[in-house]
Point group: C2
Chain length 332, copies 2
């Protein structure tokens, strides 16, 4: 090969390398554009830099870069009521023609009459009854279709937008930033695993197999010569509080190095992820923005943040001040 040709090839390769450097640099300039440039954002970037810098004592190999995210209140809004609860109430209304007895039977009567006081009085047992009546008694395929239809059409009354629009844009960027740095991102939610899987890939970029959640039992059956999984009205697993580390171990089989939550339900998950030695990252979304979203913490009925807020100080977890740290809350 002539010197001349070698020179051209080297130049061509050089241009290509330069272009790819620029692309990386532009991304690194602002991987989190919806985050204000506060200590919170700096802590996130410092952690990711530490665990991804080869040769650094804090370096973590890519397969061990597991980040777990709570869903309700961490990735999307959970006020004034969990979205899945709204789904259950809507299902009661949709299913009542098949269950005329519900008109005279609590807690269904309360739902049909919009009597929130009577519904609250039915307590956890009433809620469990509503969940089983609306989430069981069909195949997994049928339930998937019901969820997919509902999530495409239901709208939040305050913001008049589909619920999947009320996801936090800064957290969407954070998920992408972590994945761009070799992390695997998982949802670890108290919500139903089968309620989330139909839409998490589209909305969060989190594939179905990376969703961990609460579940009811299913049973395998042959029906008319075709195999189905049928959903039974029996609790299988509650993926909340001390259940979250159990769910993480069962599904992922690796200990996360970063955990993101917003309530006391995430305390044990944060402890499990961060108290294992090495550079670890815990983050709590503190809802401080009544204007753009909601403001609640220690006294909240839904998404109570009390013990975990105290633990954040003790364990040096990063606390997001939604009002001060986020340029925007929801996706555009």
């Amino acid at each position: 090969m002539s010197m001349f040709a070698r020179g051209w090839i080297a130049l061509a390769l050089g241009v290509a390398a330069l272009l790819s450097t620029q692309i990386v640099a532009r991304g690194a300039d602002d991987p989190l554009p919806s985050w204000n440039d506060t200590a919170t954002k700096q802590a996130i970037v410092a952690f990711v830099t530490a665990v991804t810098t080869e040769g650094s004592p804090d370096f973590v190999p890519a397969p061990e870069r597991v980040a777990v995210f709570d869903n309700d209140g961490t990735l999307w809004a959970e006020q004034p009521m969990y979205v899945q609860m709204t789904f259950a109430l809507d299902r009661v209304k949709a299913m009542v023609p098949l269950h005329p007895e519900w008109k005279d039977q609590q807690p269904f009567k309360a739902v049909l009459e919009g009597d929130m006081k009577a519904l609250a009085e039915s307590g956890e047992r009433g809620v469990a009854e509503l969940i089983m009546a609306t989430h069981a008694g069909m195949t997994t395929d049928e339930f998937e279709m019901i969820v997919t239809d509902w999530i495409a059409t239901a709208r939040d009354p305050r913001f008049n937008r589909p619920y999947t629009d009320l996801v936090y844009q800064p957290m969407i960027e954070l998920l992408g930033y972590l994945r761009a740095n070799g992390f695997k991102t998982y949802i670890v939610s108290g919500g139903g695993i089968e309620f989330m899987r139909p839409w998490t890939e589209r909305v969060y970029g989190i594939p179905r197999e990376n969703v961990v959640g609460s579940s009811i039992k299913t049973t395998f059956e042959m029906r008319d010569g075709r195999p189905v999984l049928f959903r039974l009205p029996q609790l299988d697993f509650i993926d909340d509080k001390a259940g979250k580390p159990v769910g993480i171990n069962a599904h992922i089989g690796r200990r996360p190095i970063a955990a993101f939550g917003n309530s006391d339900g995430d305390l044990e998950m944060l402890q499990w992820a961060t108290m294992g030695g090495g550079v670890r990252f815990g983050l709590i979304v503190h809802h401080t923005d009544a204007e753009r979203e909601y403001a609640y913490d220690r006294q909240a009925l839904i998404g109570k943040l009390d013990k975990a807020l105290d633990a954040a100080v003790l364990n040096k977890w990063t606390v997001v001040d939604m009002k001060g740290d986020w340029k925007r809350v929801f996706k555009d």
Copy 2:
């Protein structure tokens, strides 16, 4: 840029393209070198080609290319006794100094005296007792260390090799061939999920999070200020027979398009994967080679293959004749 320079760059790019084509072509020439060129191998290649050829009516997008593999008898040997059972017996012997009462107590006495008849007489209940005594009562980290130490040192008496050497070389190649074609490969085994995870990545290239198996319950606790998961002597889930589709749905959340098994314990998994419309692939490893491995099927106490062998004909599943289809059985 001069024509001359352009010519050289084009040539350089052409050489690079040619080299990469050759690499692909060489792999494609024989992706399964330990398989004889029989109808079995041809069926595997035809399936993979069909679902990966863009524009073909049978094309399946990569995220849906989920392949599930049984472990015992499908990826490694299960005769004359499940490896995990040998592990449990070895653990009883190792733990007896801490449990002197076991010398007079069945089924432990039978294990310590090598009295296989008395052990068999203890039945399922005896086996469950052995499993709980040896698999529970420690943290997940401690159990991982015990398994890792044991699997590194224990040897199969007939072949005088570590158990992780007694994996089927043709199946290892098949796993790699599927992954090279965009498949995600999972283990779906009746064996313990925590017994497999410490070594599946190294031995099969299957990462921890892609292992589905049977489990006992764990509980999250703070011990001396550190979070642990403690293993309880309570059954959580049996990932066998009709449990396999349930485990697949819980962990993966997608319906596989290919399933690989060897016994009646895999029947429902094979049904679930293949009877869902579209081009699907079911394969059964039939142990027909007493010389190089073992020969067993309808009458076997371990790995009984009876109903699933009949179902294979009905459902057009591919049946591997180990003796005729495999050039070699174990890895070198």
